[in-house]
Amino acid sequence: MALRWGRVLGAGAAVVAVGVAAAWFLTKPNPMPAETWNGRGEPDLARGEMLFWAGGCTGCHAAGGATGEEVKVMSGGLALTSPFGTFYVPNISPDPQAGIGEWTLAEFGNAMLRGVGREGEHLYPSFPYTSYARMSPEDINDLFGYLKTLPASGNVAPPHELSFPFNMRIALGGWKFLFFDDGPRVEFASADEKLQRGQFLVEGPGHCGECHTPRNALGGLQTAQWLAGGPNPEGEGRIPNITPGSRSVGSWSESDLVSYFQTGFTPDYDSVGGSMVEVQKNLAHLPQADLEAIAAYLKAVPAQE
């Protein structure tokens, strides 16, 4: 009898162990293969700078209210409020202690493309690796090279203040399993080079969908409503729909959009508002062809109500 129960318990334990192992396998941090980063060569700094502006790094990683050249000091510290608690943006300046001065390309690449931190831990998706994952290893090498040319800052950002269970990083594995996907957000029947470039910029480094697409209760993007707008994840108000179905910007032409990205003026010459103020300042650094590609993409995505 005791033997039989022992067998049952043993079998049960085995099933649980297999389940735990499977869950761990599906949700463990998943860095890029190490050879991804071998022999990448010298970064193209000009290309890295363009990715830096397209990625809007300054929006979160520069000190609040920074102007002029200060915006290139990636000191971190900005508080991002969310329904899950407050995230403090880390220092990504080249400072060896406070920043990422001693990080390897592989460590930086795993953060950007896989949401995996330097200690092999899951990173919170307040850092939009969910979009950046669409960048290539070459992009990462160039961007990393450019970031190293920026001024170092010794600022140490406070740790995140998150409520249970969101303070448990291990749970992020489950979140990634459900919501982390580096595939295209929109499938186009045919996409010319310009449209492909726009898709890369918007869905990848530009991470436009992180704010302009509504989220579910767990913070996952509701991808069926791609770029449909929704409540502001960082606080008051709403983020506008930017698809052709938008009541506010649906009627803007591609050249209206380009002009808005370059100058911050809407077609009726009001000024850009809200979080988009910082985004626009970053976009203004991009070449006109890239802004035209973004505009073309925004006109080609499915209209949302």
Binding site: Q262, T263, V277, K281
Partner: protein, 149 residues
């Protein structure tokens, strides 16, 4: 220089007075009209920058002058008691941080003066001017003007 800007201010005041829709000279209305004129001037520059209108040095100069003149008069139109009414979009921050508010207006004045001094010479130059003006507008609006919803 001083008499020039006085003259321009007087001209702007005349323009305001000549519009019949005004309820006397309520500061809320005066400042709204100063800003509307700035908006129209930016619009004239924008039309050139976008190639909707041909480059016209006179239009560029006049537009930049209006921006410069009006923004200089603008911070004086917020006396106590004008915090509300006439659908004002003025935020309390204007009265809470008057120095920062004035500095914001001064920044646009300086920028417009610098552009007048170098005078954008073609469509691309006007486009570059718009790129310099835009962030100055949005920075100040973010802090001192009510959000539009």
């Amino acid at each position: 220089m001083r008499s020039m800007s006085l003259l321009a201010a007087a001209a702007a005041a005349c323009l305001c007075l000549s519009t019949p829709a005004f309820s006397q000279e309520e500061p809320q209305v005066v400042r709204q009209n100063l800003m509307k004129e700035i908006g129209r001037s930016v619009g004239a520059l924008g039309a050139i920058a976008k190639g909707e209108k041909p480059y016209d040095a006179a239009v560029v100069e006049q537009s930049l002058t209006t921006i410069s003149t009006n923004i200089q008069a603008f911070p004086d139109q917020f006396p106590p008691g004008s915090e509300e009414g006439h659908e004002t979009e003025a935020l309390p921050a204007i009265w809470e941080k008057p120095d920062e508010f004035r500095a914001g207006a001064e920044k646009l004045h300086t920028e417009a003066q610098a552009l007048l001094a170098s005078m954008p010479a073609d469509q691309a130059g006007v486009g570059a001017a718009m790129q310099r003006l835009g962030p100055v507008c949005s920075d100040c609006h973010e802090t001192f003007r009510a959000k539009k919803q």
